[in-house]
């Protein structure tokens, strides 16, 4: 993996590939493309339709929802969003999530960038071991650590605190982020750093004033990647954030859904899902290309 990983895949490809091949033998081309188009259309339907249904359901009244999944709303119920935001406290959970992510994203990028810079550009004993120790974290599923993690966080008096969750988010984001940024820092030219040393800059100045700005594309890619990962995180808050006032979005949404069976406010539940989805939707629309290549970069070279 290298800096290329964050460029759109199309840009690194030779242009000759666009033309394509004609004249496969065997079977009629028309029959083949008809079957293929049907398959693709079917899968697109299976992917899109539940979301369309979710959007429509989020503006229906409860009696409408309960009468038939096909019935369109007589009037758009914006009210559902209001109840989701206030009564179901999705607004509160939204702000809690923003608060945690503000800390954890900044922390993840800063701590990873510092470690990755040193791992990529300095020789010292134990460098390889340390690098692989960080990468090993990619292998282990989070839930295996859940039980001891719960007690550790409790004993540090961090259970149910934003700080505790921020630190844990950073710790579990380190393996991939360090992996990615180390490769990135390796691609940066040496000359700039050397020139800065001749100008009398300290190592710290070189990192913060020369290297970090140069690593911006890598930092942005990891910012997007970790934003999605941490925004979607469910297990860690479920276990480490028992205080109902400090629930994060995905966790609050889960409890809302579980309670819904008793309280029957389906409209508000679907509206709450829409609210939770909107930030990821925006990020996807803005960064679709980078995201695809970033998310798969690790897997490709793994």
């Amino acid at each position: 993996m290298s800096a290329q990983a964050i460029q759109p895949i199309e840009e690194i490809l030779p242009t000759t590939r666009r033309e394509g091949i004609q004249g496969w033998t065997g079977g009629s081309d028309r029959a083949f493309s008809t079957v293929a188009q049907l398959m693709l259309a079917f899968w697109a339907f299976v992917v899109i339709f539940p979301f369309v249904w979710m959007i429509v359901t989020s503006v229906k009244t409860d009696p409408e929802i309960l009468s038939s999944p096909w019935k369109l709303p007589a009037a758009i119920q914006w009210d559902n969003f209001e109840r989701a935001w206030t009564q179901a406290r999705i607004g509160r959970f939204f702000l809690n999530t923003l608060l945690v992510l503000a800390g954890s994203l900044t922390g993840t990028l800063l701590v990873s960038a510092m470690a990755a810079y040193v791992l990529a550009r300095f020789e010292f004993p134990g460098r390889q071991v340390l690098f692989y120790a960080f990468i090993a974290g990619l292998m282990f599923p989070v839930f295996l650590a859940l039980v001891p993690l719960y007690f550790l966080v409790r004993d540090l008096h961090l259970l149910g605190t934003y700080q505790g969750l921020i630190l844990v988010y950073i710790a579990y984001s380190l393996p991939f982020t360090i992996f990615f940024l180390t490769a990135f820092f390796k691609t940066l030219p040496n000359e700039l750093g050397e020139a800065a040393i001749l100008d009398g800059a300290s190592q710290y100045q070189i990192f913060f004033q020369v290297m970090l700005p140069l690593a911006k594309p890598g930092l942005i890619a990891m910012g997007i990647f970790n934003f999605l990962g941490q925004w979607n995180q469910f297990l860690l808050p479920l276990v480490l954030m028992p205080d109902e006032n400090r629930y994060l979005l995905s966790q609050g949404l889960y409890f809302l859904a579980v309670q819904q069976g008793y309280q029957n406010d389906y409209g508000a539940l679907f509206a709450a899902m829409m609210i939770t989805m909107i930030p990821t939707l925006i990020v996807y629309v803005l960064f679709q290309r980078r995201l695809e290549s970033g998310l798969t970069a690790g897997a490709l070279k793994g």
């Binding site: 895949i9 590939r17 033309e19 394509g20 091949i21 004249g23 033998t25 065997g26 188009q37 693709l40 899968w43 697109a44 992917v47 899109i48 339709f49 539940p50 359901t57 309960l66 999944p69 701590v111 510092m114 470690a115 791992l119 340390l130 960080f134 292998m139 282990f140 599923p141 839930f143 295996l144 650590a145 859940l146 039980v147 001891p148 550790l152 710790a171 579990y172 380190l174 393996p175 360090i178 190592q203 990192f207 925004w231 979607n232 469910f234 297990l235 979005l249 995905s250 966790q251 889960y254 069976g261 389906y266 899902m273 990821t280 679709q288 695809e292 998310l295 897997a299 490709l300 793994g302």
Partner: protein, 298 residues
């Protein structure tokens, strides 16, 4: 570089090493120790019981049944996901010939991957709901009322209904991986094959498949690990970790979660975790060996 470099190296590495050591390495190490105790979390003392928990696991029918569900997932999840993802990737990429609408389909198919698992789970739990749900609604709409059922409580369908959600949301991810590696195969290979009278299928089998084998291996391992880790979707789709649906689709990780956070049997739960970790490592090694092939340089 020069002799003052440790003034930079140490403070720069320290935060990462500290956070990683305390919150990642230490809990995993602790899990192994806790699994040798009968700790129930109430008191600070953790009675050491040796391998007792592991022995009881071996005789615990509920655990073995959960594990056998993971065994079924282990076959179905990688096979189906990769088959669908490969088909789409080939249609969009093979030989540089993209099918009409490829760009649009690609964006759509990848989309579920970025949606929070909780939303995917809740959305599908309502797709499967008997009376107001989308699936029974569609079946009724096309006159297949006989197929309608209570998908999430029927013991024959609940696990597979949930697995279908996992496949639905991850196909796009693997498709993009396969597209990226198929795009690096030179078009000239296919041109030569066409001249030799190759069909689409034989080009796929003889050129594409061997040349992207490394990506397929990696994907098999990812999906095998996912099959062993499977549980977030189970609790979200079935509406809770102890609901009837969840019990009928109980996989090993869910059993762990309930033993820990519902029953407070921390020692026993940790033993399940350690067994799953060992199985994960063992499985990765087995798959790596079983799928080893000569790699082709091009």
């Amino acid at each position: 570089m020069h002799h003052h470099k440790y003034r930079l190296i140490i403070p720069f590495l320290l935060p990462a090493a500290l956070l990683y050591g305390v919150f990642v390495v230490w809990p995993y190490a602790q899990a192994i120790y806790v699994s040798l105790t009968s700790w129930r979390g109430v008191s600070a003392n953790r009675p050491f019981v040796g391998l007792d928990n592991y022995q009881r696991l071996w005789e615990d029918d509920r655990f073995l049944e959960a594990l056998s569900r993971n065994g079924q997932l282990l076959i179905v999840l990688p096979l189906v996901t990769i088959a669908i993802a490969l088909t789409f990737a080939a249609l969009f990429t093979q030989g540089g010939q993209a099918i009409r609408g490829a760009a649009f389909y690609r964006i759509v198919f990848f989309f579920p991957q970025i949606i929070p698992a909780v939303i995917v789970g809740i959305l599908w739990s309502y797709v499967y709901t008997p009376n107001i749900g989308l699936l029974n609604g569609i079946l009724g709409g096309v006159g297949l009322d006989g197929l309608k059922r209570s998908w999430l409580t029927d013991p024959t369908t609940v696990l597979w209904a949930i697995v279908a959600v996992a496949i639905w949301s991850s196909v796009g991810f693997y498709m993009v991986i396969f597209i990226a590696s198929m795009q690096s195969i030179p078009t000239s290979f296919y041109e030569a094959a066409v001249l030799d009278g190759a069909t689409r299928w034989s080009s796929f089998k003889d050129i594409t498949l061997p040349l992207i084998w490394e990506s397929i291996r990696t994907s098999v391992i990812y999906l095998a690990i996912a099959a062993l880790d499977f549980f977030i979707l189970v609790i979200v789709v079935s509406g809770g970790s102890t609901t009837m649906g969840a019990t009928r689709a109980e996989v090993a990780a869910l059993y762990l979660y309930n033993q820990a956070f519902d029953k407070n049997r921390w020692g026993y739960a940790s033993a399940i975790g350690v067994v799953l970790l060992l199985l994960t490592l063992l499985l990765s090694v087995i798959i790596m060996r079983a799928t080893r092939r000569e790699t082709y340089q091009f």
